[in-house]
């Protein structure tokens, strides 16, 4: 037992690699939240009136709301007036090429292993980098533009494609949706926008990389992805933050719209700073992600959640159209004092709609990991199917795994299946690996990796590699 615990400790005590701070001139709004701050954000971004109005409506609605308390996570009350709601790298003018981006910023992304250099075409991933609240660079814009694909920062979209933003903003997650989504609607500063026109298959992975740098700021980005009829896109999202003693709030909103026969695959590797071993610092990650699938459309969420002090997110699918499909694949890791309350909602409205949920929770240290999921099958959603599988792996005896499945079925022709398991990593398994020459650490890695395999194989290749590295796991070889 002694060595087993030791192996797990080595793995679970890996230091956070991305905790550096970039020294850069910032434009930061004074702390506090009121209508003036919202007007300031809107003005800074030179926004049209309709958007300011929308923000203000969201803010006024937010004031009437209370922070949710139903989740299985604990944290001291958040003082919403103490944070700053806008932070941006200072820049004098609109950038026309990457050469004009502050070299300090480019260095930051280099350190993170993200190429903003369009010359490095081999990676084949178009990247939009969001630093604190502002999008700093989007690559491959031209190549994509030739196919009619729009991939740019949210602010740019507001200026260059207002009709699209106006049509779809809030169409899946309305500003009244929930406490954190309303807050985001009021103060969001940037994010990514992506539009794939009818019948177009996006030839490369689109990727956004989020980075929180400034202290005492919240990050509130907003992502909107629209795939028109028959379009396809695979989208990746990655996140890191410096190590800071104070907690930072991150409340993002992601909306996906998949029109008839369209397909959107959305993958996240979330590695926000989780706090230190004593549970000090770390990101509070309260995120609303939802997609709407029309007839024959498909939306897949894949997430690997290793960071944040608190994770609160339920990427969901509204299966509006007949025969639409929703998928959710998740790995959530909680170590030290991390807490995660995460899962999904599958709302079946159309006929013969299908959803699949595969959730893998891994807890070590004092981590608490909850799966919370809702499968709702409306009366008219005849012939619908859901399959859910929730597995938990415990790496010690001080951590916890919890499952809260909610199932509502309003017709008799649908079928819902739920499987759940909880297991502790086996001493026998570790000994078996060691007897074949593997170190204890490699053994734990391998076992955890195997446990997550069903989710990892849903990730695009580049991300699968990153995700497995994140778990300190080496990639399963190409043999066999």
């Amino acid at each position: 037992m002694a060595t087993e615990n030791n192996d797990i400790e080595v793995l679970t005590n890996k230091e956070y690699k991305y905790g550096f701070i970039t020294d850069i001139e910032m434009d930061i709004a004074p702390p506090g939240l009121n209508e003036d701050v919202i007007r300031l954000i809107s003005k800074k971004k030179n926004e049209p009136d309709w958007l300011l109005e929308w923000r203000l409506k969201a803010y006024r609605h937010w004031l009437t709301m209370e922070e949710p308390k139903w989740h299985n996570v604990q944290y001291p009350p958040i003082d919403y007036q103490a944070a700053s709601y806008y932070a941006a790298p200072k820049q004098k003018k609109q950038l026309s090429s990457l050469d004009e981006v502050d070299p300090e910023l480019l260095k930051t992304y280099e350190k993170l292993g993200i190429s903003l250099d369009e010359q490095k075409r081999l990676t084949g991933v178009a990247v939009d980098a969001v630093f604190d609240s502002v999008s700093v660079a989007t690559t491959f814009k031209k190549t994509l533009g030739e196919m009619g694909i729009i991939f740019c920062s949210f602010s740019e979209a507001v200026h260059n494609h207002p009709e699209l933003v106006k049509k779809y903003l809030g169409s899946v997650v309305p500003y009244t949706d929930n406490f954190f989504a309303s807050l985001n609607s009021a103060v969001f500063s940037d994010g990514s926008f992506c539009f794939i026109p009818k019948g177009v298959r996006c030839p490369m992975e689109l990727s956004t990389y989020f980075r929180i740098n400034a202290a005492e700021t919240g990050q509130f980005e907003r992502t909107l992805i629209v795939a028109e009829e028959g379009a396809y896109v695979s989208y990746l999202e990655g996140c890191t933050a410096p190590m800071r003693d104070t907690n930072q709030l991150h409340a993002a909103v992601v909306e996906l719209v998949a029109l008839d026969n369209a397909q959107i695959k959305y993958s996240t590797v979330q590695n926000w700073y989780p706090g230190d071993k004593e549970g000090k610092g770390g990101i509070y990650n309260f995120v609303t992600k939802r997609g709407k699938a029309m007839t024959n459309a498909k939306i897949s969420w894949t997430q690997v959640e290793t960071g944040s002090a608190i994770t609160w997110k339920y990427p969901s699918c509204i299966l509006q159209g007949d025969n639409s499909v929703g998928e959710f694949y998740s790995v959530a890791v909680t170590n030290h004092y991390q807490q995660a309350d995460t899962g999904t909602k599958m709302i079946h409205i159309g006929k013969n709609t299908k959803s699949t949920i595969v959730s893998k929770g891994i807890s070590g240290g004092f981590g608490q990991n909850s799966y919370r999921g809702l499968v709702k099958i409306a009366k008219g959603a005849t012939g619908s199917r859901n399959f859910s599988q929730c597995d938990s792996l415990l790496l010690g005896d001080k951590c916890g795994a919890h499952t809260f499945p909610y199932i509502e079925v309003k017709n008799t022709s649908s079928k819902v299946e739920h499987e759940a398991s909880t297991s502790k990593i086996g001493e026998d398994q570790i000994f078996y690996c060691k007897q074949r020459g593997l170190s204890g650490e490699d053994a734990v890695n391998m076992i955890v990796n195997g446990f997550c395999k069903e989710v990892f194989r849903e990730l695009p290749m580049e991300f699968a590699v990153e995700a497995q590295k994140l778990l300190g796991v080496s990639l399963e070889g190409s043999v066999g």
């Binding site: 002694a2 026998d428 000994f431 690996c433 076992i447 990796n449 195997g450 043999v479």
Partner: protein, 252 residues
């Protein structure tokens, strides 16, 4: 190759092994036989370094080094292999991936070049024939959903790939039908060489019809009470373990 001197070991404070002495030279096959609960699997586990066992007295020298001082993975890398009585399942990890990781850890330890996927696959194909392993088992998760016989065969297959110096087969014959027993035994025989040694831990004599040992030791109540040649195994099969016990008690 291996010298065990006055080995005492306990589990949860209960002493199971009460002073074992054993010497194994390269090229030899030793069989350790004994009734249930005599300490056979404990002995195998202690040699491989299983955590649950505590060595309270004695010494084990392996190639001149203190075996008990080594971590289980070091022992494996130094060439000690245990074929498990109950092979462990590792869901989601393919058999080939598992074995390649193990082999490369051993090769690294020995200063050999690591094998890439192509070379490894060639090696595996060659070794598979030894135990008539079905190729489909390679790509399945380690031992998951394997039949009892497939698991045991997989152990010997791993042994063939890892090429240990000292192999310990813990009740490898249990749960095998006659055909599987023959295949597994053939595999072990083919792997036999002047450089390596094998310890076979078994309750029954039948495996020894196929793998002929140089020495047979009878383990009763945590002690080796009788040693002899291969004919001792036949005697045990015929007369059971009681006469050995009685004989020992008479001497004592």
């Amino acid at each position: 190759m291996l010298e065990v001197r006055n080995l005492h070991a306990s589990v949860n404070g209960n002493e199971i092994l009460h002073g074992i002495n054993l010497k194994v030279n390269a090229g030899e096959i030793h069989a350790i036989m004994g009734p249930n609960g005599s300490g056979k699997s404990t002995f195998a586990g202690v040699l491989a370094g299983r955590d649950a066992y505590e060595v309270t007295e004695g010494q084990v020298l392996y190639q001149g080094k203190d075996l008990l001082d080594m971590q289980p993975e070091e022992r494996a890398r130094e060439g000690v292999f245990l074929a498990f009585q109950y092979p462990v399942e590792i869901p989601g990890v393919t058999n080939t991936y598992f074995l390649k990781a193990g082999l490369n850890a051993i090769r690294k330890h020995r200063g050999l070049e690591l094998l890439d996927a192509v070379d490894f696959l060639a090696l595996v194909k060659d070794k598979m024939k030894l135990v008539e392993m079905d190729q489909s088992l390679l790509n399945r998760p380690v031992n998951e959903g394997f039949s009892g016989g497939e698991k045991k065969r997989n152990e010997i297959f791993q042994m063939a790939v890892l090429e240990p110096k000292l192999s310990i087969l813990d009740e490898t014959d249990s749960g095998l039908d006659i055909d599987a027993l023959r295949i597994v035994a053939d595999g072990v025989n083919k792997l036999r060489s002047k450089e390596n040694a094998t310890i076979i831990v078994t309750h029954y004599q039948r495996l020894l019809n196929y793998i002929v040992p140089d020495f047979v030791h009878v383990l009763v109540d945590g002690k080796i009470v009788k040693s002899g040649g291969k004919e001792l195994a036949l005697l045990l099969e015929e007369r059971g373990y009681d006469w050995v016990r009685e004989e020992t008690e008479a001497v004592a």
